[in-house]
């Protein structure tokens, strides 16, 4: 079994409304925050014969379901 973390964030050209709202609150508290982006994090445990096959599955489900490629980017990290 292989474990992955999928980090999903809005694309830079898309207005990140949640990030903007969080950023405004952080600034109002006096923190010197320049930029805030809000996305989501998904953990997957995948049954596969090797890591390459598991990674291919993680990429496929990220592109097809977890992420909408029109407005979001994702990064996959291997978890221990």
């Amino acid at each position: 079994m292989f474990k992955f973390g999928i980090r999903i964030l809005p694309r830079p050209e898309v207005l990140d409304t949640q990030g903007r709202a969080v950023e405004a609150t952080l600034k109002s508290l006096g923190h010197s925050v320049l930029e805030t982006k809000v996305g989501r994090y998904v953990q997957l445990s995948i049954e596969a014969k090797d890591i390459a096959q598991a990674q291919a599955t993680a990429k496929k489900v990220s592109e097809e379901v977890l992420c909408n490629m029109l407005i979001e980017n994702f990064e996959i990290e291997v978890l221990k």
Binding site: E13, V14, L15, T17, Q18, E64, V65, N68, L70, I71
Partner: protein, 213 residues
């Protein structure tokens, strides 16, 4: 009498309103359950109602877009059957890539529940065939994720191909180019955020919705 398949997912909540609207214009609705497949040939057209399918988990419409019934709906789309998505139904059709673009959180982050004025840009051959280009219609919106987004290239493509169905007279949610509804390339699939099924009688505040069924 035309037979209209009405899709239901866990969390769909405008299904009975759509059912009533379909009956009111003299057509025969039939439920289509999200776990079931169907044969498109048994129907004349399909409607995906609004609501909060799968509790809006992941993204609005994202999980419903992969339910078994959507495989049959994709086959129906390829065969050219008319398909109409309203509100969450529009979000589902976008997530299923049956329509271009995606619906994001409203730019001001608030849930909107109000009446809006729309301009019909291009009529659909089945859903809204009584509408004329440039016609103004009045009906409710009720959504948090109604900000329509497409890339600049895709916007030009859908404009050039006359795929824009209707626009807001006053943009309530930050949608690109004031877009409230779009069609696919072949113009058999159409989706809109406003609720025509909630504007069927004068006591509802408008009966303009009748023209969409």
């Amino acid at each position: 009498m035309r037979k209209v398949g009405v899709l239901r997912f866990p969390g769909t909540n405008c299904d009975r309103d759509i059912w009533h609207a379909v009956e009111q214009v003299g057509d025969t609705p039939q439920w289509l359950w999200y776990q079931d497949r169907f044969n498109p040939k048994d129907f004349d057209s399909f409607i995906v109602p609004g609501g909060f399918s799968y509790g809006d988990y992941l993204r609005s419409g994202a999980l419903a877009a992969h339910a078994p019934v959507m495989q049959s709906l994709k086959e129906a789309s390829e065969l050219g059957y008319p398909i109409f998505g309203v509100c969450n139904g529009f979000q589902i059709l976008c997530e299923a890539q049956l329509l271009p673009g995606v619906l994001m959180r409203n730019s001001h982050l608030r849930f909107l529940d109000t009446m809006v004025d729309l301009t019909v840009i291009n009529a659909h051959k089945r859903f809204g065939q009584k509408l004329e280009k440039g016609q103004k219609v009045h009906m409710p919106i009720a959504h948090a994720d109604g900000c329509y987004y497409v890339s600049d290239d895709d916007l030009k493509r859908i404009q050039d191909n006359q795929q824009i169905y209707c626009t807001y007279v006053r943009n309530p949610n930050g949608s690109v180019a004031d877009i409230a509804g779009v069609m696919n390339k072949n113009k058999n699939v159409v989706g809109m955020m406003p609720h025509p099924e909630r504007a069927m009688y004068e006591w509802m505040g408008s009966c303009d919705g009748q023209k969409f069924f």
